[in-house]
Structure formats: C-alpha cells, structure tokens
C-alpha cells in the first residue's frame, strides 16, 4: 500500500487561512484518525486528500508522487461520506457497482464482486432496494459496500457514523473494527467523537483551529498529552484542571491548591523543575482520583459532592474543590450523600502539569 504524506499543506478560503501547514505521514496500511471539534479542519484535510478541495499551498504525496493537481479518480481511493451520498435513483447493487461499471469491467466480475461484498456486509437480500427503502444503518452499510467493491488502496471516511443513533453507532463501530481486521489498507478516518478515535485508530491526529496538536498512538496521546487541549479532548469524563502553586519548603516541594496541599515525591519534583513559573495548571483524570477516606492529608484532595450522575456500575460525581469544579468516578454502590465532603487520594504519577501561559505540558 502506498504511503500518504502531507507536506506543509495549507488551505485558505479567500483571505482566511483555515489549515496551517499540516505535516503528516501515514504509514503503510495504517488506520489514521483525524479527530477534533467542529471547524478544526479535519474534514477539509480529508477532502483535500480526496481531491474534492483544492490545495492552497503545500503538497500531497501518494507513494512519493505529488497528486494535488490530480482528479479524485486518478488518486486510487474510495470514500464513505457522512450522509452516505448514495445515488438515490440506483438500487443497492447498482450503487455498489457504479465505479466498476464506469470502468467497463466484465459483467461476471462485477456480479461476483457485488455478491462477495454484500455477503460480508449482510446486504444480500437488499440488493434490489433503492436507498430510500433502507434504514439508516443499512444505508451506512451500502456506503461502506460501495467503497469496498473497489479495490482501492486507500479508504477515506468522513464522519461515517455521526448520522446514526447511539446504539447503532456502537454496533457499526464494532463492525468497522472487525472489517479493519480483514481489510489491510490505508484508512483515513475523520470524526469528532474521541471514543471512535481511541477504539479504531492505529494513530490519532488531534486537530484544533487548523493546526495539528499532537499525533501518536491512542495510548501515547492518552498518557502523555502534549498540551491542555489534547489532555482535555481525549478521555471521558474529561480531565480536571486545577490551578496550583508550587511551594518549596525546606527539602520538600508541595502543590498548593485551594483546599489541599499535596507533597511531591522526588520524581514529581524533578518534573516540576522545568516549570517557568510558580503557578501551574494541574491535570488529573477522574479515573485517577481514588475514593479513600483514610488517605493522608498531603496525598489527597477533598471534594464536596454537588451532583451525582448515575450511569450504571459507575457514577460520575461533580464536586467542588476550593471553588473549582472537579469530576470523579465512583462505584455506584458507595454510600454517599449530596453535599458530603469526600476524600480522594492522588497518585502523583497520574498527574499532568501545564504552563498557564501557553497550555503546553511540563516535564
């Protein structure tokens, strides 16, 4: 499979630059997910790779060959659209075989390809239906099938699951992951849903405001976010950010927040050594705060419970810690009352620190 490379790619609409020098290299048969909030430029990037948007400056290379002036059909790719983009006047079989028919492939070959893909996607009994006669999930499958019938080297997905309801989305996500096992091809997938990104990706590219914020494996990004945006974007419930002062007393280093004072171990003190200023942003994920009434004062924070959101085995508590909102996860059968003050122990290794001025990670 060819390697796709974006070199200093930018895009402007009139005088407004929406993508700023994007550099990205996708490895052979890699599943790359572009993720970010609405308007971050992820779809534009994908559409430029597809050839549906022109390139303002920079270049796209497929297998070392510049393609930014080529028509979509010359780039050897297949695409699945957010609204499925099925041809309303063709039945399922015709939709899936459109590209093959344009290429004037032999009828037998087309038929066997349709049957093969329909079998994989469970569409065999719907081959003669028009798109309007299908449910949302089935239309989604047809869109997928249309991409699969073509033996393209690269698959592009533009938020393919976002028009489905929650239950169907989970199911289709699993099916996608399964299809991924069978079809080893380049895949570029755009989504705003960080769970989709985490579950499907070999590599996640987090975008924001037309810039790539960070790229890497899901685990790398989750464990070592490069800045506050990435840290807050990946993971549900999202990471808590609490303002703290670094206070040095004798040989000890403390993190001083309103209502708590955590004593740092040697490793954490080392990390904080790189901080430019005394006040920093401390990031801690809700799952890293452990309910522990017996914890020592200098290794725990106290939270006043404001709201408890029951979501099954776990509940998410939204609490107040010295005037700042903090979310924590807790087993639902823990006996607690609203307004109660609970103590959560903090594992220093799970803490993240960010500069207040530029939001970059420290250490």
């Amino acid at each position: 499979m060819p390697v796709i490379k974006l070199d200093d790619l930018s895009k402007s609409y009139g005088n407004v630059e929406v993508l700023h020098s994007i550099n990205l290299e996708m490895q052979d048969a890699e599943f790359t997910v572009l993720v970010g909030p609405s308007g971050c430029g992820k779809s534009t990037t994908l559409r430029m790779v597809a050839g549906l948007e022109s390139v303002t400056s920079g270049e796209i290379y497929i297998d070392g060959k510049p393609v930014s002036n080529l028509e979509p059909k010359e780039r050897d790719l297949a695409m699945v659209f957010q609204d499925y983009a099925l041809y309303p006047h063709m039945n399922v079989a015709k939709n899936m075989s459109f590209a093959l028919r344009l290429e004037k492939r032999p009828k037998k070959e087309i038929q066997s390809k349709i049957n093969e893909v329909a079998e994989i996607l469970g569409l065999t009994e719907y081959l003669h239906r028009k798109p309007a006669e299908l449910s949302g999930g089935q239309r989604q499958r047809v869109a997928m099938g249309r991409a699969l019938t073509r033996d393209s080297s690269t698959f592009l997905f533009d938020e393919p699951l976002s028009n489905l309801d929650a239950k169907l989305r989970t199911q289709m996500r699993a099916e996608l992951a399964m299809m991924r096992q069978r079809v080893r091809k380049n895949m570029i997938y755009v989504t705003h849903d960080q769970i989709e990104a985490m579950t499907l990706a070999d590599r996640i590219v987090v975008m924001h405001g037309g810039y790539i914020q960070q790229q890497g494996t899901p685990e790398e990004l989750f464990k070592n976010p490069k800045n506050k945006f990435v840290a807050g974007f990946l993971g549900t419930p999202p990471m808590n950010f609490i303002n703290v002062d670094i206070v040095r007393q004798a040989d000890d280093v403390y993190l001083h927040g309103s209502g708590f004072k955590l004593r740092c171990d040697h490793a954490t003190a080392e990390r904080l050594h790189n901080s430019r200023s005394q006040d920093v942003l401390m990031g801690v994920r809700p799952c890293d705060l452990n309910y522990n009434p017996e914890a020592a004062t200098d290794s725990a924070i106290d939270i006043d419970v404001v709201i408890s959101e029951y979501i099954g085995a776990q509940s998410v508590l939204i609490g107040d810690c010295g005037g700042q909102d903090v979310m924590v996860e807790l087993k639902s059968d823990t006996p607690i009352a609203l307004g109660e003050r609970l103590r959560f122990s903090v594992n220093l290794n799970d803490l993240h620190f960010f500069n207040l001025d530029d939001d970059e990670a420290i250490g």
Binding site: G51, E71, P72, A85, F98, A132, Q138
Partner: protein, 281 residues
C-alpha cells in the same frame, strides 16, 4: 367560487351545441346538437390548424428543453459574474408577449430587419422570414422567449441535487459527461417531466406573439388553434363553432394536465411506499 369557475366553462360548452351568432343572445340561438363538432371534425382548415399547433408545440418544447437544460448544466458553477448572466438569461420571459411579437416582427422585416441586413452584410441572399419560413420564424421567437423558463427550473433542480452524491460520483471515477448522464439527469427527471408538461400546455395556447407577427399567415401556415378560434368568433361570426373548437383544445390540454397529475401521484406513491418499506426494516 365553484360557480365563478364553472359558469364561463358551462357557458362555452352550452354554446358549442348551438348555432350562435354574435348578434343573438345565447337563448335566442337554435340548438343544433353535435353539428358544430362534426363540421369541425371534417373541416380541412381545422385539421390544418390542429397540425400547425401540434408542430409548433412539439418543436418549441423539444428545442427549449434541449437548450434550457443544456444551458443550466453549463452554467451551474461558481464563476465571477454568473449571477448577472443568469439574470440576463431570464429577461426575455419578463417581456409582454405582444411586445415580443412586435420586436421579432421588426427583426424579421424583409428589408429593414436586423437578420436580413446581417445576411446581406455577409453577401448572402436575404431570407423571406415571415413569408416562406413563417412557422420556423415564430418557432424561433417562441424559443427565444420561453427557453429561460426551462433554464430557471432546470437550474433550480440542479442546485438542489445532493452535493455529496455528485462528489461520490467523482470519487467513483465519473467524468463530467458521465456525471450528467448517470447522476444529474436521472435525478432531475421528475422536475424536467413536470416542466415539459407545463410548457406543452402553455405552447398549445399560444396566441399573442403569432397574432402580432403573422396573424396566422401566410395562408394558414401559422394559424394555430387559439388564433383560429379567435378568428372564427370575430371574423366568421360563428360563436358556436368557436366554442366547439375551444372544447377540442380544452380536451387536449386536459389530457396533458391529467398526465401531469397522474405522474405526480405516482411519484408520491413511490415515495410513501419507500418510506413504509424503510420503516419495516
């Protein structure tokens, strides 16, 4: 309301069964049964007129559809000045038919008209537009006036097509032509069919432009039905026959209208059936 709608129609139908002179009131006229209809059925002039109407309507609508849809396909893109161009295209439709008739009559003038002066200018023989080629000339004028109607409706249909389906077609490897043939035209078809029927209904009733340009002549060569009806009523003073002729025209138009309604019903039925099937899944 119903009375207001049906009274003139009833009056016309009633009149068509009577030997009716404009100097008489309808009640003074004598009842002649189907005589008017039978006379017309055997009248070679009426046949000629019907034939002219059919020739005129079918040729203008065919050419207008081809040019209108073609232009829409050509101009459906974002270019500088395109909105001005589109506005210019629809101007002819806004001019009153009588004025259109007059303009074209002078343009076709054998010696003073712009066409013949142009033809002479390049050294060719002048053409006898409104004489020998009268039907062709009125057809050209009608095409000039009504192509914009089809253009606007086709453009609207084109612009409401699902963008992503067209993008999908580009990814699937369709060239510009293939997109038009396999995606755009089939998806525009419902609008095109209704537009075509509307335009046909209108073309059968055309009067003013031809009246001003040729008055139906030379001979009967451009005497379309509406013109013949008006002449039968005023010049020949045979109101009963004119009414019967109107009814023949009405029947033709009714057939077209019913066709259009049937087509609409069919599309609605298909849509609701598809919805039902989708929900059953």
């Amino acid at each position: 309301m119903v009375l207001a709608l049906l009274y003139p129609l009833g009056y016309m139908v009633y009149g068509s069964f009577r030997d009716w002179d404009p100097s008489q009131s309808l009640s003074e006229s004598t009842f002649v049964g189907l005589k008017n209809y039978i006379t017309l059925w055997n009248d070679p002039n009426f046949h000629e007129s019907t034939l002219v109407t059919l020739k005129f309507a079918l040729s203008v609508v065919t050419v207008e559809m081809l040019i209108g849809v073609g232009l829409a396909l050509l101009l459906d893109r974002k270019l500088r000045g395109m909105s001005v161009l589109r506005t210019l295209f629809i101007l002819p439709m806004m001019i009153a038919p009588v004025v259109v008739g007059l303009i074209w009559r002078y343009m076709y003038h054998p010696t003073l008209g712009v066409f013949n002066r142009g033809i002479k200018g390049v050294g060719l023989e002048p053409v006898d537009w409104l004489g020998q080629h009268a039907l062709l000339s009125v057809i050209i004028a009608d095409i000039w006036q009504w192509t914009p109607f089809i253009f606007i409706l086709s453009l609207a249909a084109l612009q409401s097509l699902p963008r992503s389906a067209l993008e999908a077609a580009r990814i699937d490897g369709a060239t510009g032509w293939q997109q038009i043939i396999h995606i755009k035209l089939p998806l525009m078809m419902p609008v095109l069919i209704v537009t075509c029927l509307l335009r046909l209904i209108d073309a059968f009733k055309v009067l003013e432009v031809i009246l001003v340009m040729t008055e139906g002549g030379p001979g009967l060569s451009t005497e379309i039905m509406a013109l013949r009806i008006s002449r039968t009523a005023t010049e020949f003073r045979e109101l009963g026959v004119a009414a019967a002729m109107s009814n023949y025209l009405l029947i033709m138009l009714l057939i077209l209208t019913v066709l259009m309604l049937v087509y609409n019903r069919y599309m609605e039925y298909r849509a609701s059936r598809a919805m039902r099937v989708a929900q059953e899944n």
